[in-house]
Symmetry: C2
Subunit: 447 residues, 2 copies
């Protein structure tokens, strides 16, 4: 419990330290707290007054620049001119709900659906990934008659009441709701035993049996296909295949949460599930979909949608409005035209190699893993014992911030750096980051 | 049951009628259905291919114009140049989450909070009204320890799983969830007996007792302060005061859903609850807040937020990003600078007088009611028996559409025209609408 609380505070601003700040920053923090109070979440021991951003760079109120390796929403680059222009143009033309026909909305739906396996041919547009996952849970319940879901133990899937229930990382210290079962994340760093796919399928199988025996019934397995909040687990490609087969045998649905890995970040394809050679029953999308314009979505099969729609009149006022669709189209255009999937693959590989290379001189680097520009750097006190070192992660994050580099942490111990820069990240950007990690680790842990 | 189904189809496109359409429209409808299937909701027996909009006017793909009396999201006028420019400017500058400090976000929070009674001094920004109500329910549950909510019988509060549970109109024919109690909407047209405020408080009191006796406990009363989906009930001002007093006596919270009446539409104040002289515990906002940019919010007291935040780590990625805040600021500016609250009051009164006046020659006009530019026109077969006439409402809506006027229906019988034009609606616009209603009613019901 105590440990959990510490982890959560890792990357976060600590309210008790306001008095140590310079006057301008203290005023800004106090101003924020006056309006947003305990619901306010701020990054860093010294929060940043951010003012503008462009490409991979963000700039604070004093003009200091920061290389962004944290933000996975502005995925094609901050303030991308093509996305901004698409938003401006459509906002000045028509911004209304989808109860009228509109070519922009239908074009976007067709473009997006064409990126999925043939089975996944229907779409519901929402405003957020949370709304998408909230809807996915209900579609799965109606389709299966079951009410139970299996998720990984440090999963995060969003912020609505229903989705918070299946997001253990958002409910620290609280008992699991009766309809939720957790399984260990599929990882080979701390438990490099046996076949990962088989092992993961076995734990999910046990959870399904438990749901069935409890009378709650099994509705589905919901996973972020790169297990971001669990600590980022991408390899070996294909490890999800056995569990998807099992889920179908047990009459449940496989829901691929692509809110984080989706839209090319893994460097292998547009969707994270593609690396595993599986076809989900439901795919949910969000964050990078509109490069910051609020838009999310659920893609699924017609039959599943029909059964849900027969019970509930679902409508989403802002969901998939023409401005969201225009932003979404611009994002798909930029990903294609700028070769961002290939860039994510190439630069992601370069970053991982570079981090592994400095790992030769820093025993605190326990593991470097990921796919494309979704990378985890796990920090340990002892590489053999693999003792998690959240305190090193915290120091690294805060010192990198002071060197003008933004990065966050993930995983159950909060000791894994979560590296997710805009997909236009370059080799030079990578060199700057790797060198800074090297230097800061030298400062923190002098040999 | 049958009746309910009919009502729901009233304003909606009927899929079985596709073959009767002209080729271009049929293609567009079939295209929409191919991507969105059974989750697609379209208006009118002949849906409209909408292309652009400006002020109170919308234009279809063939350049036909429509006077908009339906859309309450583009509340300061479609494509308002000041809002579009605010969005463009901020989207090109910085569009990120609120874990950094940012002056635009804090300025908006302060401007918005200044519009509430002093007690309501804290804010959570979300992307939609649904997310806002979803959060409000959880805040109320944590604060009271109760799990039960009281809502009106045709209420609609949004689309998440938790909010759909408290939205009877979104769950036609389904049994109420165990933690939800419904009460009749507070209205004086069909049941003009006794004191409305006292009567409404009494039914809510009965529902609270029932929740308490069932062991579920009472968390709160959630109402749209103009009862839009119930059929629009605004008068007499103050009728909510007794129920709010009662809710507090019974240790529950009063949640004012301002998603529809908020931001000046009632012509009396920025907030619908203000007409009733009450102070809510929680206020939820959405639709018109960003004039179409997806933004919503929860305003409440610090103590209530603290208790919730201690249990759940809530964060909303897109919620209140600087672009949403810039759009929200522009909306508040335009409402003030263009005197839109006063215009809603003045033109709303003019519309209601005009409709009452034509009511002298159309016995089908059973009631005209509302506040500002949120007006209900209830259609009946027989003014004395008050027999609901959804078939007349449907004909009126579809014929007005063919005359270039957009309007929708509401209420348990679907026989109440829901009149909610952009707040920049003029006397000339009103004259056009009133004359068209007069003429169409003459066509439908020749005397």
């Amino acid at each position: 419990m105590q440990e959990e609380k510490e982890i959560l505070a890792l990357n976060a601003f600590d309210r008790s330290k306001v008095s140590a700040m310079d006057a301008a920053l203290r005023d800004a923090v106090e101003r924020r707290l006056r309006s947003f109070g305990s619901a306010s979440v701020l990054f860093y021991q010294e929060p940043i007054r951010m003012e503008r951003a462009e490409g991979v760079w963000m700039f604070d109120a004093e003009g200091r620049r920061y290389l962004d390796l944290y933000n996975n929403v502005p995925s094609v680059g901050h303030s991308h001119p093509r996305v901004v222009e698409a938003i401006r143009r459509q906002a000045g033309r028509l911004n209304t709900h989808t109860r009228y026909l509109n070519d922009v909305v239908d074009s976007y739906a067709e473009r997006l659906l064409a990126t999925f396996p043939a089975d996944i041919d229907h779409l519901v547009l929402t405003c957020t990934g949370s709304e998408a996952n909230d809807l996915a849970l209900r579609i799965a319940k109606v389709a299966t008659g079951g009410a139970g879901f299996v998720v990984t133990e440090t999963a995060y899937h969003g912020n609505t009441a229903a989705v918070t229930d299946v997001s253990p990382s958002a409910r620290p210290g609280q008992p699991l709701p009766p309809h939720v079962r957790i399984v260990p994340a599929p990882e080979m760093f701390r438990a490099p035993i046996g076949d990962l796919g088989k092992r993961f399928a076995e734990s999910v199988g046990g959870a399904i049996t438990d749901l069935e025996q409890s009378g709650i019934g099994f509705a589905g397995l919901l996973v972020d296909t790169i297990f971001s909040s669990d600590g980022i687990y991408a390899d070996p490609p294909g490890f999800l295949a056995p569990v998807v087969k099992l889920v179908h045998e047990r009459q449940g649905l496989f829901i691929a949460d692509e809110v984080q890995p989706g839209f090319g970040r893994t460097g292998a394809a547009l969707w994270g599930f593609a690396r595993h050679g599986v076809v989900p029953d439901i795919v949910t999308m969000g964050k990078p979909m509109g490069n910051g314009f609020p838009v999310g979505g659920v893609a699924t099969r017609a039959a599943l949608l029909d059964r849900f729609a027969a019970e509930t009149k679902y409508f989403n006022t802002f969901g998939g409005n023409p401005v969201a669709a225009a932003a979404g189209l611009a994002v798909l255009d930029v990903i294609g035209d700028e070769g961002l999937i290939e860039n994510a693959r190439k630069i992601g590989g370069y970053v991982m190699n570079g981090l592994r290379e400095i790992g030769n001189r820093h025993i605190q680097i326990g593991d470097v893993r990921g796919s494309g520009l979704f990378i985890g750097l796990e920090l340990v006190r002892d590489r053999d014992a693999k003792t998690p070192a959240p305190e090193i992660a915290s120091q690294l994050i805060n010192r990198l911030r002071h060197r003008g580099i933004l990065v966050g942490a993930a995983g159950p111990y909060g000791n894994t750096l979560k590296i997710r820069p805009p997909l236009c990240f370059t080799k030079d950007n990578a060199d700057m980051f790797i060198a800074a990690c090297d230097e800061v680790l030298r400062e923190i842990c002098p040999t």
